[in-house]
């Protein structure tokens, strides 16, 4: 009964469909002026409009439209010269109006695509994911169901409602069906969501934090026998809240479908919920008694008719596509794939690039941001961007190390000082009295002192046992309070003891 993944892909072809919801990071909500700060005290970011008080009316947030158009353009979509909002009617306590303002048959962006590249048995391979539409809508509030075993509304003792999220702008990105990915379907799905996330981040339109729900993916999966035309019945898996989960959910659903089909059963068209702990999905609402949402054009809003010149201006301002930029930087900096991935994961690519553009060596820039500075950010539990150190500071520090004015060790102290708010690197150096001892006279004095104190060791070096010099160099460094350039100390020391210095 239990099938391996290889069994599944030997017999069936998976067909994907992905719906991604993105919370925009606009300062105010989609249809009112309420703030959108994540994690605020429940029901403190509400007003008559987003609480659906009688008489209140929505007004579109222009910034949200701008962000959506940017997304559409970045996904190679056409921007509709005329689009409308529509009401999606259904009753649920966390939806104040009991309808959601969304877009139905007249979305703002249509017909785009995203290319992703994944590693296959035959090497890297490109897959094109076609985007059917990108549309705007508003988020619902949040229900907290208290009591009962499942945490769901049925069986709960009571429910608490928080409308802070109600009305936050959401953009839904819907793909066309994606056939032809074969056994790579789970990786392609993951790569698509990752690519989307990178694009959205580069546009600066969303926080794209899957764990906070600002990027949410629903994965539709169906199977058909290899070579068959007709699509199989699909399931729609919700709650897929990490990249890894996207891959697991698609793989899990493929296996579940195949087991059902092999046993002569049939797949039920339904919504399923992904369980992070088990990697399995659980049945939700069946779509066979599909709800009738009674869509109709939202009469409280006027159609969206973006000016062509505005669209062109937004197009001209689009950032370089992240995948292309990544390739370009990787080549220019000669960075191994793994290091590149590390920079992307740590979200330091922009900052490293800025530092390099200010003249720093790419390897040095990368190692500062990814190493020491990341570590400090981690310790303080803040984002790197929130630290009081700029690419300009790092570029300066790198330059000072290159010129021999700072040692690596001293440079770390300067970085610490800048982050601690002591000022620019030059100010930190001045305040802390940091300086490299490159006065050979002073160094020679220290060397002579150490060689006298540790005469035995000095004798070993003099006799040609070079490795013994390490202890002496260490002692000299200590003597000069770490402010000496270790390489210069080594040079002088070996010369002093009659050894070759190269």
């Amino acid at each position: 009964m239990s099938l391996t993944y290889e069994d599944v892909v030997a017999k069936y072809e998976p067909v994907l469909g992905l719906e991604v919801h993105v919370e925009l990071n606009t300062e105010s909500k989609m249809f009112c002026g309420c703030a959108t700060v994540f994690g605020a005290e429940p029901n403190t970011q509400t007003c008559p409009v987003c609480l659906a008080l009688p008489g209140a009316l929505p007004v579109v947030n222009e910034k949200a439209i701008e962000s959506t158009i940017k997304i559409g353009l970045a996904l190679n979509c056409s921007i509709a010269p005329f689009s409308r909002f529509a009401r999606k009617n259904y009753f649920y306590p966390d939806m104040p109006k009991n309808f959601q303002i969304s877009q139905y048959d007249e979305p703002i962006c249509v017909d785009g695509y995203v290319d992703v590249e994944i590693e296959t048995d035959e090497g890297p391979k490109k897959f094109r994911i076609e985007v059917e539409r990108v549309h705007m809508e508003e988020d619902t509030g949040k229900s907290l169901h208290v009591g009962g075993a499942t945490g769901r509304i049925h069986g709960a003792d009571y429910s608490l409602l928080d409308y802070n999220r109600a009305g936050i702008p959401l953009v839904e990105i819907v793909t066309k069906i994606v056939p032809g990915t074969g056994k790579y379907a789970p990786e392609v799905a993951k790569a698509y969501v990752a690519e989307l996330r990178d694009i959205l981040r580069s546009l600066g339109v969303s926080d794209v934090k899957m764990e906070q729900g600002s990027l949410r993916c629903d994965a539709n999966v169906s199977l058909r026998l290899i070579g068959a035309e007709k699509l199989g019945t699909r399931s729609e898996t919700k709650n897929v809240n990490s990249l890894r989960s996207v891959e697991r959910a698609v793989r899990g659903e493929m296996i579940r479908h195949a087991e059902l089909l092999n046993a002569g059963g049939r797949v039920v068209q339904e919504t399923r919920h992904f369980q992070e702990d088990t990697g399995l999905t659980r049945s939700g609402r069946s779509k066979e008694q599909a709800e009738d949402y009674r869509y109709f054009p939202e009469p409280d809003l006027v159609p969206v008719e973006p000016d062509a010149a505005w669209i062109e201006k937004l197009r001209a301002g689009l950032p370089e596509r992240p995948s292309i930029r990544r390739k370009r930087l990787q080549e220019a900096w000669a960075v191994p794939e793994k290091e590149m991935a590390a920079m992307i994961n740590a979200d330091v690519l922009d900052i490293v690039e800025k530092t390099v553009l200010l003249g720093a060596d790419p390897t040095k820039a990368r190692s500062w941001w990814l190493g020491e500075i990341s570590r400090i950010a981690n310790d303080k539990d803040v984002a790197i961007a929130d630290l009081a150190i700029t690419p300009q500071d790092v570029a300066e520090i790198v330059a000072l190390v290159n010129s021999g004015d700072l040692t690596d060790k001293l440079a770390r102290q300067v970085v610490e000082g800048v982050i601690a708010g002591e000022g620019k690197p030059s100010e930190v150096i001045a305040k802390r009295g940091i300086k490299v001892v490159n006065d050979d006279g002073a160094l020679m004095a220290a060397i002579e002192k150490v060689c006298t104190e540790q005469a035995d060791t000095a004798e070993k070096v003099r006799a040609g046992h070079i490795p013994a010099a390490g202890a002496l160099i260490g002692a000299v460094m200590k003597e000069t309070k770490g402010q000496a350039d270790a390489a210069r100390v080594r040079e002088l020391l070996l010369g002093h003891l009659g050894q070759p210095t190269s």
């Binding site: 008559p48 659906a52 008080l53 008489g55 306590p93 109006k97 109709f296």
Partner: protein, 498 residues
């Protein structure tokens, strides 16, 4: 003093002949003495009104520059949110709800120092033509207490006709300002859609609803119109353009050289003889005043009523979904173990009246998948055709005219069980809402057969509201010189009958 026009009251306030407190008190006294017969109000805000009046008097005493209607009292239809005052929309489902905010109309009234006496009765959620659908009992027509005052804004029109208030605010989705004005011998204007903000107007049908001014004269109506009109960024359908100069038009009352188009389809069969007689007389007077009377045709008006009863209920079914007991208003069945769904169902079952439920069901059906194109979709096409009829007619005439209603006020209870007969009462007013243009009703006299008021309707193109005021003022002046005194002087005094 209460029989004065609002403009006269404003003049007396300005000259110091009276105070707003005295004027407001006089109206509160009048309300006290006739309200048991008329039942125009759902809430009389005695304290709030007197406080507001006192503050206007204080401002005047300090020599502050005040707006033209400052200190004059007004009756507010209970469909507009007023901060901390009951706002029920004539429904049980909103009983006890106190809005935490002011509608834009109320904010404008306050800014203009117009004193709000209280909230007037209406058909529940503005659905009806008689005010019989109010959950709080019907309002009576001051001309004949056994008759309806029109609807849905019957409370506002009855308050004007019984001299409980010189000004009132109504809302008009299919005729709810104009039909009550017609059957009570008062004036009511539905401005161009988007001319007055809908923010805070509890929605019945968003694409048709429009708040507007009601009064006893054309000039008073115009003064109130300018006080509440204008662009509002809180209403996306609000028109960002200067307010039409309706006060000037009402003062001039000049129709010389204007072309007045009589809509062929809004007359004839089904219109009461007394209504037709007064309408024809009015046309003669306008011709005498220098207007040219032409006939225009609007062939698609025939389908307006049917289309309206698909569009309005469809939007209503969605607009009224928010009344679910979760955040405000009535909550029924919230006993231990009851699900949210059960509470929603029970609350809506108990909280909504029959007509509201009828329209929610109608609208839900019309929007259902599989029926959408046949019903809602077709209705929208009809709407486009009606708009085109108007556009064409306005190339042949500056304004269009018709009787406001086919009949005079009917008896309370007469049509209560015949919704279709009730709906037909709005046949001449609905096309205006469908096209989003302006419409006015003013008194044309009394029908010979029943001695009840007849309304004359004037329709003007989008944002050309001043035209209907020009024609209305001209007609009003001609009729006044013919009658020798305002029509309402012929209405029962109500107090005498006590």
């Amino acid at each position: 003093m209460i029989r004065n026009t609002a403009a006269q009251m404003a003049a007396k306030l300005a000259s110091g002949e009276t105070t707003s407190v005295a004027l407001t008190q006089a109206h509160l006294d009048r309300i006290n003495s006739v309200e048991d017969k008329v039942h125009a109000f759902l809430f009389v805000d005695e304290k709030g009104a007197l406080e507001q009046a006192a503050s206007v008097d204080a401002k005047r005493a300090k020599g502050e520059k005040l707006s033209p209607l400052a200190g004059v009292p007004l009756a507010l239809k209970d469909v507009l949110a007023q901060k901390d005052k009951p706002t029920t929309c004539g429904s049980k489902i909103l009983e006890g709800w106190l809005p935490p905010y002011d509608s834009t109309v109320v904010a404008s009234l306050k800014k203009n120092d117009i004193v709000i006496l209280g909230k007037t009765n209406m058909d529940e959620f503005a659905m009806g033509s008689s005010t019989e659908n109010s959950a709080y009992g019907p309002t009576h027509n001051p001309w004949d207490l056994s008759r309806i005052p029109g609807g849905s804004g019957g409370g506002s029109s009855a308050a004007l006709a019984s001299f409980e208030a010189p000004l009132a605010i109504g809302t008009d989705t299919g005729g709810s300002i104009r039909q009550p004005a017609a059957v009570t011998g008062t004036v009511g204007v539905k401005p161009t859609y988007g001319g007055v903000s809908r923010y805070g107007l509890v929605a019945f049908s968003s694409s048709l609803d429009q708040a507007g001014p009601c009064a006893r004269t054309v000039l008073d109506t115009a003064l109130l119109h300018e006080a509440i009109a204008g662009y509002d960024p809180k209403d996306a359908t609000s028109i960002n353009a200067p307010v039409p100069q309706v006060v000037q038009a009402a003062k001039d009352g000049n129709v010389k050289g204007m072309k007045i188009g009589v809509v062929k389809e809004l007359n004839g069969d089904g219109y009461q003889p007394g209504v037709r007689a007064r309408f024809d007389e009015a046309l003669e007077l306008l011709a005498k005043a220098g207007a040219e009377i032409v006939e225009v045709s609007a062939p698609n008006f025939e389908y307006a009523l049917a289309a309206y009863y698909l569009i309005a209920p469809s939007e209503a079914s969605s607009n009224l979904a928010r009344f679910d007991a979760m955040r405000y208003g009535l909550r029924v069945g919230d006993v231990d173990g009851a699900s949210a769904e059960a509470v929603m169902n029970l609350t809506r079952e108990v909280g909504f009246g029959k007509e509201v439920k009828r329209r929610i069901i109608l609208g839900t059906y019309a929007l259902s998948s599989g029926y959408y194109d046949a019903y809602y979709g077709s209705a929208q096409k009809v709407r486009t055709l009606i708009t085109q009829d108007f556009t064409k007619a306005f190339t042949q005439a500056d304004v269009l005219v018709s009787p406001t209603c086919p009949t005079t006020a009917f008896k309370i209870g007469e049509k209560a069980n015949d919704p279709l007969a009730m709906y037909l009462n709005d046949i001449a007013t609905i096309p205006v809402n469908m096209a989003g243009i302006g419409g006015m009703s003013l008194p044309a006299g009394l029908a010979d057969e029943d001695g009840l008021p007849v309304g004359f309707q004037i329709m003007s193109p989008v944002m050309k509201d001043e035209r209907m005021y020009s024609v209305g003022a001209a007609l009003e002046a001609a009729l006044l010189s013919k009658w020798g005194a305002p029509l309402l002087n012929r209405a029962p005094t109500l107090e005498a009958s006590k």
